[in-house]
């Protein structure tokens, strides 16, 4: 598959007289393939929004290469802007304009047919509130309007920064369905979000960033499989005797108050068979598959610890790699979990 977004060795340092220098991106790499829903994850202040803003020409990078839809950016942005829909953070709109007028102005500026305005208002559920002033909108409705503005162009690539921000559960579900629907229609979606359960549900692949560097990139199911330790929670009446029996076979066993956890287990049927042979009847056998939240917290070093208040910028600093320069005609590299993951976990 062709890379729709290709970022290599991106660096950005913000400089201000008051606060001095702050390194936002430090040789960041990311590849998003066509037709995918790609999750872009990272702790607060890790460089997600800077990456998206840089990609969209709003921030000037210090170094690195970027391409969108196979064209180098920011140089080719004017040519491809009509094919890229984006919202970056929570966009603000003029409160005194109605939602419909806001979209109509953007449609006029971008040369999009005005009939498209009604289509996207319908799509994001604002059909009946389109003639209300934006200042009367709730946060979630403003977010829907922002998504509508990004969809106005019928884009090939959709970049959404925190699209679920402020949305109610129904809105989150709507946006999720919309993203899947768009991806099925061939639209590539890059979505940054902190709602990891959503990312796990809708994304095909993901990139995790921490302190301006890539921590991990790859298909979501492969990443989760990689961190699946084959653990099962086992509950039986005499769990101490059962644990001892299992431990005899050399499998790692962790005791809890009323159950135990077995690791490195390929086939859970072996548990039931072994324990049944000793008249121990399994009451619960639950696979402890890692969820994205657990993996994310581990990889970024942001898992809560008792007695420690984690500060922004205290997430994991992945080792720096040499800046990767990707030429347009270079084959798209495989998105595989990188060795840095193990280092980050250790």
């Amino acid at each position: 598959m062709a890379a729709v977004i290709d970022i290599g060795g991106l660096r950005k340092t913000y400089r201000s007289l008051r606060r001095g220098e702050r390194l936002a991106l430090d040789g960041f790499d990311m590849v998003v393939e066509a037709g995918q829903v790609h999750g872009f994850l990272g702790p607060n202040g890790s460089g997600k929004t800077t990456t998206l803003r840089t990609l969209l020409g709003l921030v000037r990078p210090d170094a690195g290469t970027m391409s969108l839809l196979g064209r180098p950016v920011p140089d080719a942005l004017p040519e491809i802007a009509g094919r890229v829909g984006a919202i970056v953070e929570s966009p603000q709109f003029f409160g005194n304009f109605t939602g419909r007028r806001t979209l109509r102005l953007l449609a006029t500026a971008g040369g999009v047919a005005r009939t498209r305005v009604d289509e996207v208002l319908e799509l994001v559920g604002l059909r009946d509130r389109g003639d209300d002033r934006v200042k009367s909108y709730s946060l979630g409705m403003k977010q829907r309007l922002a998504v509508a503005s990004a969809l106005l162009k019928a884009p090939e690539l959709l970049i959404l920064d925190e699209p679920a921000n402020g949305l109610d559960p129904a809105g989150i579900r709507d946006i999720r369905d919309l993203m899947r629907q768009l991806a099925e229609g061939g639209v590539t979606v890059l979505v940054s979000s902190h709602i990891l359960a959503e990312i796990e549900l809708i994304c095909d692949s993901m990139t995790i960033i921490s302190r301006g560097r890539r921590v991990l990139a790859g298909p979501v199911d492969e990443v989760l499989a990689r961190y699946d330790k084959g653990e099962f929670k086992v509950r039986v009446f005499d769990h101490k005797r059962a644990a001892a029996l299992i431990a005899e076979s050399g499998l790692p066993v962790t005791m809890a108050e009323d159950h135990f956890v077995v690791g490195d287990l390929a086939d859970p049927a072996w548990i039931t068979e072994t324990l049944a042979a000793h008249q121990l009847w399994v009451a619960e056998l639950t696979p402890l598959a890692p969820d994205l939240e657990t993996v994310f917290l581990e990889l970024t070093g942001t898992a809560p610890e008792p007695g420690r208040r984690l500060q922004v910028d205290e997430s994991v600093l992945p080792p720096a790699g040499p800046p990767r320069q990707i030429e347009l005609d270079e084959p798209t590299p495989d998105l595989t979990v990188e060795p840095t993951v193990e280092q980050a976990l250790s």
Partner: protein
């Protein structure tokens, strides 16, 4: 073209623009009604009295003028600056209109009224220009737009061009309505006065300069707000300039008797722009007794305005092209 249409719609749909337009019309209406309430059509008796007063004054003035001219070089020197400075202008050109009270005489009153119009156009342009781009920058509207039209020069340039075009159109309409209303008033309840072809040309040029001043301040408001990323930046700069420089620095420069300090004041160039020429006399010197007076002309003002625009508007474009929109 699409961008121009969108920008025009955005500008005209802004409530601030509409409120300022209403405010400007209200101010002009008040001015007009004030004039209406203080004028009347002169009666034949008033006209006769004025003509009598004019004839009497003219005899006295001519007598004084002739003696003054003869004391300062005679008839041959009538047009020299020395005679003009000492004897004043030839008062034989006075008309009956000058001897009528509570009568609106168009030819004598319209110039100061156009100065007032110029001040209002400048204020209107500055506020609309500053708020138009300032609100876009602070609200994120500009960021939204750049996601659609990534060429920053084109976006900012279109905004400025649309703004200037709109302010120009509004200014022309307002100026025509304003002068026309007073011309109508003079004809219906006052006097037109002496309105030669030269008068109309001069008045037309004055109106053009008033509109030009409005456009200058529009561009300045736009440029400063772009540089400061906020409407308030433009308001702060103009308020700071007036208090710190036009008042504070003027006092300091006067105390230190700095030579030609008027050259450093924007107000000097505005006056020169509107009048065509401003003569500055050195302080503590009269009648050419020490130093010499110097003139700031319309041309000097144009150069000063050009430099100011280059710094503010040119700077805004350079800065906006390089700026990170975070």
């Amino acid at each position: 073209m699409n961008l121009v249409r969108a920008e025009l719609e955005r500008l005209l749909a802004r409530r601030f623009t509409r409120v300022l337009l209403v405010f400007m019309f209200a101010a002009f209406l008040v001015t007009f009604l004030t004039m209406v309430s203080s004028t009347h059509t002169p009666t034949p008796a008033e006209l006769a009295q004025a003509e009598q007063a004019l004839a009497s004054d003219r005899i006295n003035a001519e007598e004084w003028y002739r003696s003054c001219v003869s004391l300062n070089g005679g008839e041959e020197a009538r047009t020299t600056s020395r005679v003009i400075e000492r004897c004043g202008p030839d008062t034989r050109s006075a008309s009956v209109a000058n001897y009528l009270s509570q009568v609106f005489v168009f030819s004598t009153v319209i110039r100061p009224l156009v100065y007032f119009l110029a001040a209002f156009l400048a204020l209107f342009g500055f506020l609309v220009g500053a708020s138009y781009v300032g609100a876009e920058l602070t609200s994120g509207g500009m960021t939204n737009l750049l996601l659609w039209r990534p060429r920053r020069d084109v976006v900012l340039g279109t905004k400025l061009a649309t703004l200037l075009g709109t302010v120009l159109a509004v200014s022309v309409l307002v100026t025509a309505g304003y002068v026309g209303a007073f011309w109508g008033l003079a004809n219906s309840a006052g006097m037109p006065g002496t309105v030669s072809r030269g008068f109309w040309i001069s008045l037309g040029l004055l109106c053009v300069r008033a509109i030009g001043l409005g456009l200058l301040f529009t561009a300045l408001g736009f440029g400063i707000a772009t540089l400061g990323r906020h409407t308030a930046a433009a308001l702060g700069v103009i308020a700071g300039y007036l208090v710190v420089w036009e008042v504070g620095a003027r006092i300091v420069l006067a105390v230190t008797q700095s030579p030609r300090s008027e050259l450093l004041m924007l107000s000097t160039y505005i006056a020169a722009w509107m009048n065509g020429r401003v003569s500055i006399y050195p302080s503590q010197c009269f009648d050419g007794a020490c130093g010499s007076a110097y003139d700031i002309t319309f041309g000097h003002a144009a150069v000063a305005f050009g430099l100011l625009l280059a710094v503010c508007v040119g700077g805004a474009f350079v800065n906006f092209r390089r700026r990170d929109l975070t």
